[in-house]
């Protein structure tokens, strides 16, 4: 792999970032017991981004020879010059930021072969088939990825990182009166497979719990539409933090008219709520998507977004930080070598509180406990929605019947003011992805929240 890019800095003629990146991985899938997917792949190359008087040029190529690297630097420079000549922005130089770091989250254990992983997944699939004949459809898959990056900038920053992630996804379906009802779960997170999974049977308790939820959902009811008191499980609070609040506080969205722009240093949430976009470490542990240095070469710092209910700051790259007169926060991230860095979240979380989840549920007379989500979207107005794939009604402080798939929505900066309890328990969601132009891995986490939400139903 290409780790030393320093020999190419002579080709820089202005502010320039030069990055090598390789994304590789494997996928194995069993559909109804058949091994339908058995693949591996890699995509690597080099890219350059150049800034000239307020205009940017970018170029990328899979050609890793000196000629390929020269091509991306000269093409990016040419692109910036073309735009500068057309636009005449006379933009100020970018703030300088120098940092050097190396992060490698590789396993130290012996690596399994893909064929051994096929056996692991086959065994997991067979466990479900043998134990749960009432499951009419099952899709069991494994996705392992590895993202390697080397960066050098004209400021003098340099970085190397290797981030592995491994996820097992189980999607199960049962039928009721001829209608399919399904539920899925993702296990795993940051790390090579060997650091996360040992034996297929270790996952049996989680699978058993998934099937138990699915059987409850089979006999579930439609949620009643309207504004309801809800307990959001930690996974749901994580997606709330990302979708509903996080996006509105990305500086490029703030410049683009996000409602958060007018709320800085104002009360936007209950005083119980504090929310942070962590760079790499939270609560003394490494985050799901740790970033030491961003793809502009800036040292990644934690970014406090809400503190005690007050909106405190936004996430920045160099250009937006300069515009706002603050320091860059290290949020410029690119997903692959063909991508330019954008302002992206890293590990966004609402901080835990002092309440007990069981007591939170017991405090609700008529509402819902919402546990799992499969997607979400937010607006610059802070109106958000996310899909709910698992939840239960709460009646007189006790969990009742499961609910069918639904969607919840609200206006984040109004809804956050309704937060009245926050649990001590905290959890990161597995497999978070964000799709802002480029699809990229993100960490999202939170405690359980008691709040008022609009629920879609019949």
């Amino acid at each position: 792999m290409l780790t030393d890019l320093s020999q190419y800095t002579d080709l820089f003629s202005g502010y320039t970032e030069l990055r090598y990146q390789e994304n590789s991985g494997l996928s194995i899938g069993f559909l109804q017991g058949d091994n339908t997917t058995n693949a591996k792949g890699s995509s690597g190359g080099v890219c350059a981004r150049v800034y000239q008087n307020g205009s940017w040029g970018f170029a990328s190529s899979p050609d890793l020879t000196a000629e390929g690297i020269r091509f991306v630097i000269t093409t990016a420079t040419k692109n910036a010059a073309f735009l500068d000549q057309k636009e005449h922005k006379a933009g100020a130089p970018l703030p300088s930021s120098v940092y050097n770091a190396k992060q490698d989250y590789s396993t130290t254990k012996p690596r399994l072969t893909q064929n051994q992983l096929v056996e692991f997944m086959k065994e997991l699939d067979q466990y479900i088939a043998a134990r749960y004949p009432q499951v009419t459809s099952r899709w069991v898959s494994l996705n392992c990825s590895e993202q390697k990056k080397s960066l050098i900038t004209s400021d003098g920053s340099s970085a190397y990182s290797l981030l592995p992630q491994s996820f097992i996804m189980v999607n199960l379906t049962v039928e009721k009166d001829g209608e399919p009802i399904s539920l899925s779960e993702i296990y795993g997170g940051r790390g090579h497979f060997e650091d996360l999974f040992s034996h297929p049977e270790d996952l049996s308790p989680e699978i058993d719990q998934l099937v138990e939820h699915l059987m409850q959902k089979r006999d579930g009811i439609h949620a009643a539409a309207g504004l309801k008191t809800c307990i959001l499980a930690p996974e749901m609070a994580g997606i709330l933090a990302h979708e509903a609040i996080g996006h509105t506080t990305e500086a490029d969205l703030v410049i683009g008219g996000s409602i958060a722009g007018s709320y800085l240093n104002k009360e936007v949430a209950s005083p119980l709520v504090t929310m942070v976009d962590f760079a790499h470490t939270a609560f003394g542990e490494t985050c799901p998507v740790p970033v030491q240095v961003d793809d502009e070469g800036t040292k990644a710092e934690d970014c406090v977004l809400i503190e005690g209910g007050i909106l405190k700051g936004f996430m920045h790259n160099k250009e937006s930080a300069d515009r706002f007169g603050v320091s860059p926060t290290g949020n410029a991230r690119a997903n692959s070598y063909v991508d330019e860095p954008l302002i992206r979240m890293r590990n966004t979380a609402i901080l835990p509180g002092n309440d007990d989840l069981a007591e939170m549920i017991a405090s609700v007379d008529d509402g819902y406990y919402l546990i799992r989500t499969n997607n979400g979207q937010a607006d610059a107005t802070s109106e958000f929605m996310f899909g709910v794939t698992l939840g239960y009604e709460i009646k007189k402080g006790k969990l009742g019947r499961a609910i069918k798939d639904t969607t919840v929505s609200g206006v984040a900066f109004a809804m956050l003011k309704t937060v009245s309890m926050i649990s001590k328990e905290f959890k990161w969601l597995s497999g978070g992805m964000c799709g802002k132009k480029q699809s990229i891995s993100v960490g999202l986490g939170g405690p359980a929240l008691k709040c008022e939400l609009k629920i879609g139903g019949r």
Partner: protein, 431 residues
């Protein structure tokens, strides 16, 4: 090596390494892209990429490897690896590659971008929007030209090559009036040339016109079962969701499809006719061959409400015993109806003009729910006001069964052509 030489070399090497059947595909892509963000054209991108895909079947086992380094050493290593992972796969007699077909070379579009014209079109677009829609703020616009070439070969004798050059534009925007802001909206389209101004393609003008009308939205109160008119931008997502849970490989193989055993039966309103036309001249993008190696053909999926084909791949077909589709779906074209959009709106007693749907992924039984974005409340045949904090819920199969009208007007997005459709029986809930 040239593309065809590379795929031929890989094919021979895989067979020599012990593959019983092999398939090799090489894609080269070069993209030139102009980016506009928050009031200025701020970036030009040139990206070059390669993708080499090697697939093997041996003793009914399947293995696949994808790489973008195509040096002789990288290819040799990839062949070794794909043979190894194939050995470790589990056998399935349904794995197969496409049968022999006549060799074909497909071409479409320009070979190089006109960067000056791209810049000029983008600049004119932003200036026109500023003049004609002063309350609309363009959040970002991406205008790109993508040149892609490919070579597809398999050991049964398939030998296709393609060259395509397509422009694509997409825009995200919202309206602002003092502190008031509408929800953002977005749209995009593909085109073979830049002969017309960007504003005149797809639904851009229409949505930008609506943008300022979405300021100062009002939430609905209560809950009712009402009518819904889906706009062309919105309809595409609903069609893809319906087909995804009903006529593709996974739901048919697992038996969870809501259209199981319903080929040649009425599954939607007779007012609804849906084609997939990946090789039609009216579709600027499209594709020439399927992912499993067949020359793509246009097809009728639903004809006046009757399901005419499933979208099964070769694997899905062998697994279910049902006919293979002649394409991979996509490039959808919905036949126009007989009513004007105005007449359709006049016919609504109480409902929503749904411009954008922000919803959870529908369940396999077709149930969906989500938020009506950039949408308008309809009552007694009139557009009353823009909406906020309004949710809708329903079932996809019921939504298409309950279609009451399809508009004469349609929008061509270059990757699909859609009208407005009206349906009933959707739960609409506000505060």
């Amino acid at each position: 090596m040239e593309k065809r030489e590379t795929t031929a070399y890989c094919l021979n090497a895989l067979l020599k390494a012990g593959a019983e059947q092999a398939e090799t595909v090489l894609y080269n892509t070069e993209r030139t892209e102009l980016n506009y963000e928050n009031g200025e054209i701020n970036l030009i991108r040139t990206t070059v990429d390669t993708k080499l895909q090697l697939s093997v079947i041996k003793q009914q086992k399947l293995g696949k490897i994808i790489l973008n380094q195509v040096s002789p050493q990288a290819i040799t290593q990839a062949i070794e690896e794909v043979m190894t992972i194939t050995e470790g796969a589990k056998p399935d007699p349904a794995h197969a590659f496409a049968e022999a077909q006549p060799a074909q070379n497909f071409t479409k579009g320009a070979t190089t971008p006109d960067l000056d014209l791209m810049y000029q079109r983008l600049k004119t677009f932003t200036q026109t929007v500023a003049a004609q829609f002063p309350q609309t703020f363009l959040r970002n616009i991406y205008l790109n030209f993508t040149r892609s070439n490919s070579s597809f070969r398999n050991s049964n004798g398939v030998d296709f090559t393609t060259q395509k050059g397509i422009y694509h534009v997409s825009a995200t925007f919202s309206a602002q009036d003092g502190e008031a802001s509408s929800s953002f909206n977005y749209t995009g389209y593909s085109t073979l040339d830049l002969n017309q101004e960007l504003l005149e393609g797809g639904s851009l003008r229409l949505l930008l016109q609506n943008s300022s009308r979405e300021l100062h939205p009002i939430p609905l109160s209560g809950k009712f079962t009402g009518e819904i008119i889906l706009t062309p931008d919105c309809l595409e997502g609903f069609i893809s969701s319906l087909l995804g849970i009903s006529i593709t490989d996974a739901p048919l193989i697992t038996g969870t499809s809501i259209f199981k055993d319903q080929l040649n039966q009425l599954v939607t309103s007779p007012l609804f006719t849906l084609y997939s036309r990946p090789v039609s001249p009216e579709i600027a993008s499209g594709y020439f061959f399927t992912s499993d190696g067949y020359a793509a053909q246009n097809s009728t999926i639903i004809e006046q409400g009757v399901l005419r084909t499933y979208l099964l791949s070769l694997y899905g077909s062998r697994k279910t015993g049902l006919p293979k589709a002649v394409n991979d779906g996509g490039a959808y074209v919905v036949a126009p109806g007989e009513e004007s959009l105005n007449t359709m709106i006049k016919g609504v007693k109480r409902g929503i003009l749904l411009t954008r749907f922000s919803g959870g992924r529908p369940n396999r039984n077709g149930d969906f729910s989500g938020v009506a974005k950039n949408s308008f409340y309809l009552e007694d045949g009139e557009i009353k006001h823009p909406l906020t904090e309004t949710m809708i819920a329903g079932n996809l199969a019921a939504l298409f069964r309950n279609i009451t009208a399809v508009s004469q007007e349609r929008v061509n997005f270059g990757h699909g052509i859609y009208p407005w459709i009206a349906s009933t029986g959707v739960t609409i809930s506000g505060q």
